[in-house]
């Protein structure tokens, strides 16, 4: 069997587009999921029982289902449930956002709960409203504790974007697999895909380790 590694260079433009799409998906998902996670965490901590229960159900459901299934589910169920056809990109983004929002909600909740009660009491004693206490005192401190966990979630998310290839979002995995089936250069393309992910992901993993050392709370 002879190998033709030049095939990778020939398709460099498509692969670069795939990488760009992967990065775009990850960034967009994280932006949505950070806001979503904060909202869900605040809902979870609400004294109103139905609000807190709704958030708990959402979080537990999407945390406890495989992401690849969630991608298919979003692909088939969202159009029927909402009555609108979504692009593959929007569907993939929605599935990833649901999943990561659920994880982030837990991360933020843990971060908020980890702030001692005395801190909120001191702020309340100054006459602040609950919302001001949250915004001025609790959240800014929680963010520091949350940052290392968010960084780890980011690395997982970056890899998980590969799963939206199953509904045809043209990110790195999809593009690589497409070139494979067009050219039959299986080993070359699959290895190239792995290497590109490695080149992108390895520095991220190392960066996360550094963030954990720098900001990690050892309590």
């Amino acid at each position: 069997m002879s190998f033709d590694w030049g095939i990778i260079w020939q398709h460099r433009a498509e692969l670069a587009d795939g990488v760009a799409m992967t990065v775009l998906l990850a960034v967009a998902t994280m932006l949505i999921a950070i806001s979503g996670g904060i909202v869900l965490a605040l809902m979870r901590l609400s004294p109103l029982r139905p609000v807190s229960a709704a958030s708990a159900c959402f979080v537990e459901f999407f945390r406890n289902t495989p992401l690849i299934l969630l991608v298919y589910w979003a692909f088939y169920v969202m159009p029927v449930a909402i009555g609108v056809e979504f692009s593959a990109f929007a569907t993939g983004l929605a599935a990833l956002s649901l999943n990561v929002s659920a994880y982030n909600a837990e991360t933020f909740r843990a971060g908020i709960v980890s702030i001692r009660r005395g801190q909120s009491e001191a702020a309340l004693a100054l006459g602040m409203s609950r919302w001001q206490v949250m915004r001025e005192v609790v959240l800014p401190q929680a963010v520091r504790r949350v940052l290392p966990v968010l960084a780890s979630t980011w690395v997982s998310l970056f890899k998980d974007t590969s799963l939206v290839s199953v509904i045809g979002v043209s990110e790195l995995a999809y593009v690589s697999l497409q070139i494979r089936s067009q050219t039959f250069r299986i080993l070359e393309m699959l290895t190239a895909m792995a290497v590109i992910y490695w080149l992108l992901g390895y520095p991220q993993a190392k960066l996360v380790d550094w963030i954990h050392r720098r900001y990690g709370v050892s309590e």
Binding site: A122, A125, L126, G127, R144
Partner: protein, 248 residues
């Protein structure tokens, strides 16, 4: 004392489950008065302070500030809290803000002062507690005594009518207790109305106008320090002070 009544506790009751923390406590605190609450741990003195600014809800009785009964609602309580400064045993400075930002936080977020005004106010107060040079430091780099002085300045920045101190020196190293007590003494001399939960008997004796001894959620004896420390009328008071090694 003929001054107006600032805080009026009438038959205050508070339970935690089946534990009776306050079992019908009545005290009047007059303007400019320093009232020290003493007694064994768990006797209800800290709970009384926490009830005063609404961190705990009452189960019975009422508390009035300047003749107005404290509201039960969270929003109503917010307006009342602005008029009371509270100092905690564990300081509770906000670690993510500098010292001066801690002092400015109340005026800026609650009183809606401009940052310049708040800063001026904070600078004066830090000067007063002797920590001007630490204004831009973070709380973590301060000693316990310094942190507590900042916490006092933070409470004073709201220009409260009354200051509540919840065991302000209990978490401090012995060598820094004095600096905090000195700041409190000066505050008392300026005529601030103060309610102080404390184990510092010499401070109570020197500074208080009135000392109230608590046990099991009720008042055992109250009176001027000379009475409590030198001529207690209740046997329990003698026992308590005797256990602390206080003999007149």
């Amino acid at each position: 004392m003929n001054e107006a009544v600032v805080l009026d506790y009438r038959d205050v009751r508070k339970n935690f489950g089946s534990f009776v923390a306050l079992n019908g406590v009545s005290i009047r605190v007059h303007k400019g008065e320093v009232v020290c609450l003493i007694g064994p741990s768990g006797s209800g003195k800290s709970t009384l302070l926490r009830c005063t600014n609404g961190l705990e809800k009452l189960d019975g009785g009422e508390i009035s500030l300047d003749g107005v009964v404290l509201p039960r609602s969270e929003t109503g309580m917010r307006d009342v809290r602005r008029r009371m400064g509270m100092v905690f045993q564990s300081f509770e400075l906000f670690p993510h803000r500098t010292v001066i930002a801690n002092v400015m936080m109340g005026p800026v977020t609650v009183l809606r002062l401009s940052r310049d005004e708040a800063r001026q106010r904070a600078e004066v107060l830090l000067e007063k507690v002797g920590l001007s040079e630490k204004a831009e430091s973070h709380p973590a780099s301060l000693s316990g005594g310094q942190q507590q002085r900042v916490a006092i300045a933070r409470a004073l920045a709201m220009q409260p009518e009354v200051m509540l101190f919840d065991e302000p020196t209990s978490a401090l190293d012995p060598e820094t207790v004095g600096e905090v007590l000195n700041v409190m003494k000066r505050l008392a001399d300026e005529g601030m109305t103060m309610v102080v939960v404390t184990h510092e008997m010499s401070f109570a004796r020197r500074v208080a106008n009135r000392v109230v001894l608590f046990e099991r959620g009720a008042i055992v004896e109250e009176g001027p320090p000379a009475q409590i420390f030198d001529a207690p009328t209740v046997a329990r008071t003698r026992d308590f002070l005797g256990h602390l090694g206080w003999h007149g």
